[in-house]
Symmetry: C2
Subunit: 542 residues, 2 copies
């Protein structure tokens, strides 16, 4: 028996209408600049998105063609976020921090027809353009007369000139809610980057989750600072969720350093902010040196990598700001789980819950799979690889098989950990980073967190290095805080009080900085490479 | 281009799994009784729902057959809420407060095969049973040996005996998310009651809306007191939403009088509670006479009828509890809008926002249609009939045309009012209750609210009565507070300072009680009838 309910297709156009209608004059996007911030209310964003859609149609964009963006977090990127999917085309956010050959591979694989580029990124983009085989138009935002020499067959436009004078309304077409709205590439388990194509439906459901009280609790009362880039897993869903409920958006553009970020916070008074741990580490260090008013923040969301407990404690104890630890990945839209402790939890239990990856919501079913493929119990101790499924989880990659990532309808996350009976996820490591030592698993992340607790240590990265007797043993690369000195022996003694004896690392290296990936995570692959090439100065303790 | 996201069908079974898994031991349903309350955690509810599903299969329930409930708000009704849709059948909540002939019409129209009945409702049900043509099994809950003589071909079972010893797990089938999960009948514009069949999808989306910060903000930290009956628009979605996030449910069973309700609140400490205005009027009056601790309530949700501003003020000013005014109807699942004032609103503006029907969320598109069928602007003054559409709005009635209720894909709500540019809905009347006086519309609700402001008045109901010169003129039926005396002249003088002269009612009647519908709303149809039959003692002022 069919229900009598409306088909009610979920669409980005409807999210846009909600943001620009009821919230059109009260909500705004603020884009940080060197000078005073640029402000634009959502009604104006909507008008300009309509103008952009008209312009893209005139450039020949039709059907489900892809429109790439090569941009920071700013108002123009936000306009593209809505114009492109709402007109029925597919937004493709290019990650500016990947290697050039990865970016060109991705743009060619997605067959981007038009690319919108921030003028400040032209030095980078200029080198890529000759390799972009399907691009016919480049639209430069914030150009101010910037010049880009284009190869034959490619036209260059100025964003403002292109949209000027066009109608500020667009008759957004009806779309199938399961059609692609936006794409984002990520590294698969092997080979080339892999594309995830979010649907209108998955984005809508995910946006609701972001706004749920037990999600990120985003509401009309919020001013959300999205430090997490719009080219990284859709800025964790904040732009669409913000338009759904009328929250304002604060966009740092290219000013991602601690000093401008803390100035932005003091001046624009965000109520919540989202970024990876390394950004927040920098912000806290800077605030110590140069105090600024961050009291507007009701909550700080940290994800993209495990958050060191010390970071959470500092936020809470020094600034009274609770940290919401979140877990997700490009393939999960990305909001998988957030760590809101159960009501009434206090003391150490509270910190255990906060340090976990959080509870998976109803939309994200989970199971743990052991080495032998068996499903493990959720008993708070059985460790296996996390697999998830649900309406905002990827089922495949775009035009590229990667069967190892999918297991009978479940996404293999590559994350290793355990689930508690009350549904909290505790990740102990990445499947590829776990150190296999004499038949036991040592969590590289756990060791890092312990070493980070030492007052002299600014950063710590742990990898497994080959060992004849044990297969692998841990190596710790340490970055010391400015002006601090400590040797490996002392750190090992410090660690010995905190982990089991058989987990104690023999190999230590002091490095001036930790290698990081394009999205700010520790780049363990590169560290392993440096070690293999003998580029690290390693101390061996016995 | 299709997205690469999972099909991820939305289902009641998955909501059940979330409630019984991660929240299985921390969340509970508390059913009030005369003596001490009955408690059952969600894991146990899940086990018993599985047992009930096995039992229903054994009784022959298969496919999308309908299982009716004739029950108060209690744990067994909750078990049916999950067991029936999760097994693929359709839950049909029968409204015990309708007239007997309406109930039998509805059960026969839906072709209910099995009906679950509370033992305390057997006196009522006993009279209906002989007229129920498709019912083959009656299951009596809380029976304790209660006897029900069944007609030939109908078997009677005891709920506990029926489920006892059955497996506590059920392999819930995969369902098409657009298939019917639950049904609820409502009065259409004409003729017989009309059935709305909610889908798994519409219930899922609606549950998320209930949990959104700008919705009812239901979270795992909540203990939700659902006074609104489970046979009335799915208890405003609270049971499913509570399982989705792990909020506890407090169920009053048949104890809906102010005294047991206030005892329940003091003892079980709900954080939120939902009911129609008349229930809250009674609760406040009772609290005045007999103070009890209601401080656990973070918010009180009032809907089902317009909430008198005086009621909101009393809650806020005497008890420090903000009222969340909500609008919806059976056809809207029912959550249409809630009145959360924009952040930073203060003073009189705050109360204007609170008294409105609230802001329609992204999932509920709205338009106002004038007498001539034209769409009116959202200018805060143009008054028309509200039409809505969206993924949890009915597109039709089950097996019964009522084309007047639907307009080119929009649901005609029968509510009349205006929309502000910032998206707040202000209903001024029901289309059928508006008083058409000399080409102008007089809002019956507005007059009621003003009369209610008089200290001697307990209740006020306004209807239009035929008038030769003006077509219609308002009649006010007044219920005085105990021990209070006031005459029509004085009330009219009081009103003259508050409304335009041409709106001032000529007709006044003092009545011992206001006629109410089965769901506690003023029954204006009956009042009109009483007036037509000369049953009211009417004073005419000039």
């Amino acid at each position: 028996m069919l229900s009598t309910m409306q088909d009610g297709r979920l669409s980005i156009a409807q999210i846009l209408r909600q943001g620009t209608g009821p919230h059109g004059r009260s909500a705004e996007v603020v884009t940080w600049t060197d000078e005073r911030p640029r402000r634009r209310d959502y009604a104006t964003v909507g008008h300009r998105a309509a103008q952009l859609a008209h312009a893209l149609r005139d450039l020949g964009i039709t059907g489900d063609q892809r429109v790439g963006t090569f941009m920071w977090n700013n108002a123009e990127h936000l306009e593209a976020y809505f114009a492109v999917p709402a007109m029925g085309a597919v937004l493709h956010t290019l990650n500016i921090r990947l290697f050039p050959e990865q970016i060109t591979y991705i743009a060619n694989h997605a067959e981007d027809r038009v690319v919108l580029v921030d003028a400040t990124l032209l030095p980078l983009f200029r080198k890529l353009l000759p390799q972009l085989r399907t691009v016919r138009h480049v639209v430069v935002a914030g150009g101010d007369g910037a010049v880009l020499d284009a190869p034959a067959g490619v036209e260059v436009h100025d964003y403002e000139e292109l949209i000027a004078g066009r109608p500020t309304e667009f008759d957004w077409p009806d779309v199938d809610e399961r059609s692609a709205a936006a794409m984002c590439y990520t590294s698969g388990t092997t080979g080339n980057p892999k594309g995830v194509a979010y649907s209108h439906r998955s984005i809508w459901l995910h946006s609701m989750q972001v706004c749920m009280s037990d999600g990120m609790a985003l509401s009309q009362a919020d001013r959300a600072l999205s430090v997490v880039p719009m080219f990284h897993a859709m800025s964790w869903g904040l732009p669409y969720a913000a338009f759904m409920v009328g929250a304002s958006l604060l966009m740092p553009d290219r000013f991602l350093q601690p000093d401008p970020l803390t100035r932005l916070i003091a001046a624009e008074r965000p109520t919540m902010a989202a970024a990876v741990p390394t950004i927040w580490q920098g912000v806290l260090q800077h605030l110590e040196a140069e105090p600024r008013d961050v009291s507007s923040l009701r909550e700080v969301v940290i994800g993209g990598a495990a958050c060191p407990p010390s970071l959470m404690r500092t936020f809470e104890e020094s600034y009274g700001i609770p940290v919401l630890h979140a877990w997700g990945m490009t393939e999960t839209s990305p909001l998988g789980s957030v760590a809101r402790p159960p009501a009434g939890t206090t003391g150490d239990r509270l910190w255990e819950y906060r340090a976990s990856q959080g509870r998976l919501p109803a939309g994200v079913e989970a199971r743990l799979v052991g080495d032998d493929g068996s499903v493990l119990p959720r008993d708070g101790s059985s460790v296996g690889e996390l697999e998830v499924r649900g309406p905002w989880i990827a089922a495949a990659y775009y035009g590229d098989d990667d069967p190892e990532k999918f297991d009978d309808g479940w996404l293999r996350t590559g994350d290793v950990g355990y689930l508690t009976p009350d549904g909290f996820l505790h990740l102990t490591d990445r499947a590829k980073d776990v150190i296999k030592s004499g038949g036991e698993w040592i969590s590289s992340v756990e060791l890092e967190n312990h070493v980070l607790g030492h007052p002299a240590v600014a950063e710590a990265v742990v990898i497994g290095v080959p060992d004849e007797k044990w297969t692998e043993r841990p190596l710790v690369a340490v970055v010391l805080r400015d002006g601090q000195r400590v040797d490996a022996e002392e750190l090992r003694t410090y660690l010995a009080e905190r982990v089991a004896r058989w987990q104690l690392p023999e190999y230590w290296a002091f490095v001036p900085e930790a290698p990081k990936t394009s999205v700010g995570k520790y780049d363990k692959k590169r560290l392993r490479q440096q070690h293999a090439e003998g580029a690290l100065d390693v101390t061996r303790l016995s």
